[in-house]
Amino acid sequence: MDSTKPLEHDDTIIKLEHISKTFIVEDGEARVIEQIDLEIRENEFLVIFGAGQCGKTTLLKILSGLESLTEGKVYIDGKAKSRFDPRVGMVYQTTALFPWLTVMGNVEFGPKTRGMGKRERQKKAQYYIDLVGLTGYERHFPSMLSGGMCQRVGIARAYCNDPEIILMDEPFGHLDAQTRYMMEEEVEKIWDREKRTVVFVTNNIEEALYLADRIIILTECPSTVLKEYQIDFPRPRSLVSPEFLALREEISALVELREGVVV
C-alpha cells in the first residue's frame, strides 16, 4: 500500500505524475512525451488537444496499457495502475474492429473474455448497440459497414466492457464533416446518459470546444501541457455563439503562435 497517494481533489480518478516517454528508434532515441502532470476527474469530459504527431496517441496508449512508461507514474483511484486495467476502455483512431466477428461479436467481446454468460452479455451488448443507433446491424460484419458505423461499433464495444474511464483517440478523424458533427452530438448524448469519464483526443478545435468540460492543450513533440481551459458553456452548445467563437480565436492564436515560435 505504499503506492497510495493523497489525492488533491477527492473526485480525481486518474492522476498522471511526471509522465515521460522515450522511444528507442533506429538512430537513437525519440522523446515524445515530456513531463506531463495531469489529473482527470470523475465523470468529466476531458479533451486533449494537440497538433498532429505530437504524441496524443502515445499518451492514451500509456493510459490503456498498450505502451509502457519511461518515467513517471499513473494512479487510478489513488493506486498505482496495473498494466491492462479493466477500468480503462479505448476507442481507436483507426477502425480496430475484429473483422471476423459480427457487430454483436465485437461488442460482446469484452464481457465474453471475462466469462459472462451468453444471455446476459448479449442483452448487454444489444443495449449498447441500440444506444449507438445500430439496431438491426447485429449480424453485419465490419467490412459491410461504413466508417462512421464502424466507429459506433467501436464506441459500443468500449462501453459494453463497463470501464470507468473511456479513452477516445481521434475517433472521428477519418470521417467526413457531416458524419463527424452527427457523431459528436451522439457521443455527447451517450456521455450524458452513461456518465463515465471520457478522455477524448482531437486535433480539431471546434470538436474540442463542442465536447469538453476541460481542454488540455499539448505542445508540439515532445509534448507537455501548454495550457488548460475550463469550459463552462451550457450544453448542448452552439458553434456560433460569440463566447464560443472568441475562445476558439484565442486557442487558435495560442497554438499558431506556438508553432511560429517552434519554426
Binding site: 479505448m90 481507436y92 475484429f98 471476423w100 467481446f109 473474455t113 471475462r114 467490412s143 464495444r157 466492457n161
Partner: protein, 264 residues
C-alpha cells in the same frame, strides 16, 4: 431492365463463343487424326468419348473407371487430410511461438524444398510398396505448403488487434484462440487450395510408379498397352474430379469466411 438485357446478351455471347471454341478444338483434333500421322498414335474424339462411357461399365485392369477414380479419391482424401491437419498444427505453432519457430524451422527448411514426388523412391525403400507409401507421398506433397501458409497467417496477426483484445481484458492464453486462430483462417484456406492441387499431382505420380489401380495407373497403363484412349479418359476424369473438389473447398471457404473481402 436494360441492365438485365445487357447481362443476358453477355451470357449469350459467352456461351456462343465457348461452344465455338470447343467445337474448333474438336475439329482440329478430328482433322489431325484423319489427315496426319497423329491419328495412328492418338485416338479421335469419337473413340475417346465412346471409351469414356464404356469405361463406366467395362473394367479396365481390375476396376471400372469409377472404381479407379474412387480409389484415387480415397487416397488423396486420406493423405491430404492428414497433411492438412499436421500442416495446420505445425504452422500455427511456428507462427505463434517464436520458440517453436526457432526449434522446428531449421529442420523444416531441409524438407521444405523437396517436392513430394521426390520422396517416392525413399518411401518405397522405407515402407515398401503399398497403400501407406502412397499416403506418405501425398502427405509430403501438401505438407510444406500447408505449414508455410498457416505460419504466414499466424505471423501476420495485426498487433493492433492483439492490443485491442488485451485492453478489453483478454488474457495471454485467450489471444491464441480469439485472435491468432480466426485471423489465420483465410491463409489456411489458401494453403488448403494449393495443397489440394499438389496432392492430386502426388497421387498420380505415386500411382504411376507404385500402384496397380487408380487414375494414375490408368493413365500410365494406357501408354504401356498402347491404348492411349485410356490415358485420355483418365486425364479427363481426374481433371473433372480435381475441379469438383476445388469448387467444394471454395464454397466451404465462402461459408466460413464471410467476413473477408471475398464475400463482397
Amino acid at each position: 431492365m436494360t441492365v438485365r438485357q445487357w447481362i443476358s446478351d453477355d451470357t449469350k455471347e459467352t456461351w456462343i463463343y465457348g461452344i465455338l471454341g470447343f467445337l474448333l478444338f474438336l475439329m482440329v483434333w478430328q482433322m489431325a487424326c484423319v489427315f496426319t500421322d497423329f491419328g495412328t498414335i492418338f485416338p479421335s474424339p469419337g473413340v475417346s468419348i465412346r471409351t469414356f462411357f464404356m469405361a463406366f461399365i467395362e473394367p479396365i485392369g481390375r476396376y471400372t473407371l469409377l472404381g479407379h477414380i474412387s480409389i484415387s479419391l480415397k487416397r488423396v482424401l486420406i493423405g491430404y487430410g492428414l497433411s492438412s491437419v499436421a500442416g495446420i498444427i505445425i504452422g500455427l505453432l511456428m507462427g505463434y511461438s517464436k520458440m517453436a519457430h526457432a526449434i522446428i524451422y531449421p529442420i523444416f527448411c531441409i524438407v521444405r524444398p523437396i517436392p513430394g514426388i521426390a520422396w517416392i523412391p525413399l518411401a518405397i525403400l522405407w515402407i515398401g510398396i503399398g497403400e501407406s507409401t502412397i499416403y506418405f507421398i501425398i502427405f509430403m506433397g501438401g505438407f510444406s505448403q500447408m505449414v508455410m501458409n498457416t505460419m504466414d497467417g499466424a505471423q501476420h496477426i495485426s498487433p493492433e488487434l492483439v492490443g485491442v483484445a488485451k485492453v478489453l481484458g483478454a488474457k495471454e492464453n485467450q489471444i491464441f484462440r480469439k485472435i491468432v486462430l480466426p485471423s489465420s483462417v483465410p491463409y489456411i484456406f489458401t494453403g488448403l487450395q494449393t495443397s489440394l492441387s499438389t496432392s492430386w499431382m502426388a497421387v498420380l505420380a505415386a500411382e504411376m510408379i507404385t500402384a496397380r489401380e487408380g487414375a494414375g495407373w490408368l493413365i500410365l497403363s494406357g501408354m504401356q498397352t498402347g491404348r492411349i484412349e485410356n490415358n485420355v479418359i483418365g486425364m479427363i476424369s481426374i481433371g473433372a474430379v480435381g475441379l469438383l473438389l476445388a469448387a467444394l473447398l471454395r464454397e466451404t471457404e465462402r461459408r466460413l469466411c464471410i467476413w473477408t473481402v471475398r464475400s463482397r
